[in-house]
């Protein structure tokens, strides 16, 4: 499954970068995430519950960050397994300054998926991946708004 796109956050790049490295934020932002903890520098582990057409199942999730160039680039190595199959592969994220103090995120992921999520869920996989990505990005924007509001409150 390949998902690629761009998304423009309303907020500065340094804060977007911060959010993307924060497991507490990510666990709220990523749809279906039950738990996400940092187990080592640049390594996160957790549990997700994913619904795919007629199927719903829990998947273990392990993410390792690499090639980090703050605050503009990182690669995620993703390994996820569960009763309905697996997903593994990489996602690449690039951040750049955008107009009006915003940040443009360019992302691309290439996941190999297998098991029942492919054999039964094939026809909804692409849609589900896109919808999860959209929901995740919107949730990140909300988290960004909150953090920026908090900071302006602190000031």
């Amino acid at each position: 499954v390949k998902v690629a796109g761009t998304f423009t956050f309303r907020g500065p790049r340094s804060v977007v970068w911060e959010l993307l490295q924060d497991p507490d934020v990510l666990s709220k932002a990523l749809p279906g995430t039950r738990r996400l903890v940092r187990t080592a520098d640049d390594r996160y582990e957790g549990l997700m519950k994913v619904g795919l057409g007629p199927l719903t199942a829990e998947f273990s999730l392990s993410v390792t960050l690499a090639d980090k160039v703050p605050p503009e680039h990182f690669t995620m190595h993703i390994d996820s397994k569960g009763g309905l199959g697996f997903a593994r592969g990489t996602a690449v994220v690039d951040l750049a300054d955008a107009a009006e103090g915003g940040t443009t995120m360019t992302y691309g992921s290439d996941l190999q998926i297998g098991g029942r999520i492919v054999s039964v869920g094939q026809r909804v996989v692409d849609t589900a991946a896109r919808s999860m990505t959209e929901k995740g990005l919107e949730a990140l924007q909300r988290a960004l708004d909150e953090r920026l509001a908090d900071r302006s409150g602190e000031r």
Partner: protein, 778 residues
């Protein structure tokens, strides 16, 4: 007097089947029964690094979990069921499946661990708690690329993924080609499908420690070989293992495959645990765990004279055998042999390579490779007809084997290891009858031009096929007259809906002069009959049916001997009728078969030395070679140019399976086979991605033809008897699906006015749409 043979006797078994009283394996419920579930590979090719079952063992209701290491010496690769044919210079590498993966998994769905629990729910829940570390490997999925030197190696002890290579030839093809007026070469593809029996596989087993007996209910097509093999593997006497193949909801070939991992493990676990264990395959499992068929790529060419006569055929093809090859080369050998069809082919040069791929194992599925051969040959003839400006029926007419050519030895080796010799056939009248029935000439001359002028895309297809049926080695039957007058018949074949209970009863009833309703047939129970091979290759009626005839004939002789003594009338004046032996022309002087049966098994007095007690006999039949059925499929289709959907308006089958035992059963076989063939031609295709994942392993996405997609087949029977058995029988089990793809391709091509060449099956509306668009592109 033959009151039953050839008659439309209603099927004995239907009342039980239609009222839900027939026993299927999943109906077996025993006190204390446990349920098994299997952890299967999500990967098509991966190294098994570790398995941790610790957490899963603690799950509620979990009784046992087994991995490869837990099986000890019971872990062994399955047997090679069919050795390679004795073709000189052949290559064959045996790699059979294992009960549970030990170091590697080689296809999606391969079992890794078995959980036994108090219920299937609890067993499946525990599967989720097993931690498996699979290190993914590159997968060899594409049939051609799997032979690249750099392709991922599926069996590492081999040099490549080549499983086999067989080259057969007769005549001198190069010389024939040199003299040809026309040579036509194309590449043909025939892709893979599931067999999609309505009942998935199931195994239940119970070990009785007091009697030291193991009873196994199995959806197998081969109960006796299952019994023999399991006894050997389990270290039991064959007499301690009782295998029952009760009613089975469709076999179609994959259920003759053995030993499936579940078939080895469920009985073993029942014995280990001392409790009955059952496993029933679910539909999703079936897509990865049950064998499949059909991926082949043919590079074929035909050399002809200007008059359309075939001078020779050359074919080089690849056959996808999947991850393992336990069934040897039956499927590609069938393709190789069946390509010759009903035609005179003076020179034939055919070589195939069987290739391991990271996909479920390929073993015969109804047709068993025959449809590939028919597809290639019939398509080549269609292309030749167009090239030479000869009518499609006429080019076939010119190349048919004539009655004087039989028996016809094609000079190559068939799947039963004897020479490919057709026993009998009368091909031209079958072709003419099919053409007349569907109105070929009128359609081509009048209907098609008229409808085309209205903008409708209608086409006709008409193709020939042969079906090698009724091969050995042998089957047997025991016929017993009980003192009540009821007749009991037991045979070793399993039954999966073929109407054996009726067909065999008809044969025995005729021989003994009894009512067909008084004959009770038992199949597929190793307690009832001890010897046999199984139901495959359209051979039940021919081989087991003939054994029934032979056993009944001996019983008849025995009854006449006894009646001669009882009635004091010489046997040449006696006849069997109405359940009695009676004096010809004097129905009042008779003795019932039941009385004779009681007399043959006396409580006092003596049974003469050398005479077996009871009115009973056992007989076997082993044909030297198979009997060759044939037929013609013709269909008229209409293609919707916007959606590329194809509607089949008419479907005609003229077929010849020798003498008919029961036309209703034969017609059921053909109608069902055509449904299977239509699925294969236009709906059913397994889609594998580059990693060997099956993208459509459910009936949401794997399309079976609906009742509305399958027309009522108009059928005509021709009866050219086989000289190979006394009743002149030939098989019919696969006839309906062998020619469908070829007929469909021709008809669709014709409907599109020759703008598109159809060189592949299955088509789908999507694929056909793409082909139509390609053809329209400038």
């Amino acid at each position: 007097m033959t009151p039953y043979l050839g008659k439309r006797v209603p099927r004995n078994e239907d009342a039980r089947l239609l009222t839900g009283r027939a026993l299927f394996v999943d109906d077996v419920q025993l006190p204390g029964m446990l349920h098994a579930a299997f952890l299967r590979s999500d990967h098509a090719h991966a190294r098994l690094q570790s398995i941790d079952t610790t957490a899963a063992r603690l799950g509620p209701g979990v009784v046992a979990i087994y991995t490869a290491d837990d099986l000890g010496t019971y872990w062994q690769a399955g047997p090679l069921l069919v050795p390679p044919p004795p073709v000189p210079d052949s290559v064959f590498h045996v790699c059979t499946q294992v009960p549970l993966a030990r170091d590697k998994v080689r296809h999606v769905g391969e079992p890794i661990a078995m959980v036994v629990a108090e219920s299937r729910y609890l067993a499946e829940d525990a599967l989720a708690d097993i931690v498996v570390d699979l290190e993914p490997l590159e997968a060899a999925v594409d049939l051609e690329r799997a032979l690249d030197p750099g392709a991922a190696r599926i069996h590492e002890h081999l040099d490549s993924n080549l499983a086999a290579h067989v080259h057969q030839q007769k005549g001198d093809y190069d010389a024939a080609r040199a003299t040809a007026d026309v040579v036509i070469a194309r590449r043909f593809r025939y892709d893979r499908g599931a067999s999609a029996a309505i009942e998935n596989r199931a195994v239940a087993a119970a070990w009785d420690a007091r009697s030291e007996q193991l009873t196994i209910w199995d959806t197998t097509q081969a109960p006796i070989p299952i019994r023999n093999g399991l006894a050997r593997m389990l270290g039991l006497a064959e007499s301690q293992v009782h295998v029952v193949a009760p009613f089975v909801g469709g076999g179609f070939g994959p259920k003759i495959m053995m030993f499936y991992p579940e078939e080895m493990l469920v009985p073993w676990a029942a014995r280990q645990l001392g409790r009955p264990v059952k496993w029933t395959e679910d539909r999703h499992e079936n897509f990865g765990a049950t064998t499949q068929e059909r991926g082949q790529i043919h590079d074929a060419e035909i050399a002809l004279g200007r008059d359309g006569r075939i001078l020779g055929v050359r074919d080089v093809f690849l056959h996808d055998t999947g991850a393992y090859d336990p069934y040897g080369l039956t499927v590609p050998i069938n393709s190789q042999c069946t390509l010759l069809g009903v035609y005179k082919v003076p020179a034939y040069d055919s070589a195939f390579s069987a290739v391991f791929t990271n996909k479920p194992t390929v073993t015969p599925v109804r047709g068993a490779g025959r449809q590939h051969g028919v597809f290639v040959m019939e398509r080549l003839l269609d292309l030749a007809a167009r090239e030479l400006g000869i009518d499609r029926v006429e080019i076939r007419r010119r190349n048919l084997l004539a009655p004087a050519d039989f028996p016809h030895d094609h000079g190559i080796i068939f799947q039963d290891f004897t020479s490919l010799t057709y026993d009998s056939g009368d091909y031209l009248p079958a072709l003419e009858q099919a053409a007349a029935t569907i109105g070929y000439e009128r359609f081509v001359r009048d209907d098609q031009p008229r409808l085309r002028a209205e903008g409708r895309r209608v086409g006709i297809g008409i193709v020939n096929y042969v079906e090698g049926t009724g091969i050995g080695p042998y089957e047997g039957a025991r016929v017993t007259v009980e003192p009540s007058g009821l007749v009991r018949v037991a045979t070793g074949v399993g039954t999966q809906g073929q109407g054996h209970f009726t067909a065999f009863a008809q044969i025995v009833a005729d021989t003994l002069g009894v009512d067909v309703g008084s004959v009770r047939v038992v199949t597929g129970d190793t307690r009832e009959f001890h010897w046999g091979t199984g139901t495959f290759a359209s051979r039940g009626a021919v081989v087991a049916g003939t054994a029934c005839r032979a056993a009944a004939t001996t019983v008849r002789d025995k009854a006449l001997d006894l009646a001669e003594q009882r009635l004091g009338v010489p046997r040449d004046r006696l006849e069997l009728a109405g359940g009695s032996v009676r004096v010809k022309g004097d129905a009042g002087t008779s003795v019932g078969l039941g009385d004779l049966a009681a007399h043959a098994n006396p409580l006092r007095g003596a049974v003469t030395s050398g005479v077996e007690p009871g009115l009973e006999a056992t007989a076997y039949f082993g044909p030297d070679r198979g009997s060759t059925a044939n037929g013609v499929h013709a269909m008229i289709v209409e293609v919707d140019p916007e959606t590329a959907l194809v509607r089949i308006d008419r479907y005609v089958v003229v077929h010849d399976c020798g003498h008919l035992i029961n036309p209703t059963i034969v017609e059921g076989q053909i109608q069902g086979g055509v449904a299977h063939g239509i699925g294969n031609a236009f709906y059913e295709q397994l889609i594998f991605d580059e990693q060997g994942q099956i993208a459509n392993a459910s009936f949401m996405d794997y399309l079976l033809p609906l009742a509305t997609d399958v027309p009522d087949v108009e059928m005509a029977h021709r009866e050219t008897p086989s000289p190979g058995n006394p009743d002149g029988l030939k098989g019919v089990g696969e006839a309906g699906c062998i020619a469908t793809g070829a007929a469909f391709a021709q008809a669709v091509e014709d409907a599109l006015g020759g703008t598109v060449e159809i060189l592949e099956i299955p088509l789908s509306p999507n694929r056909l749409f793409a082909l139509m668009r390609e053809a329209e592109a400038p």
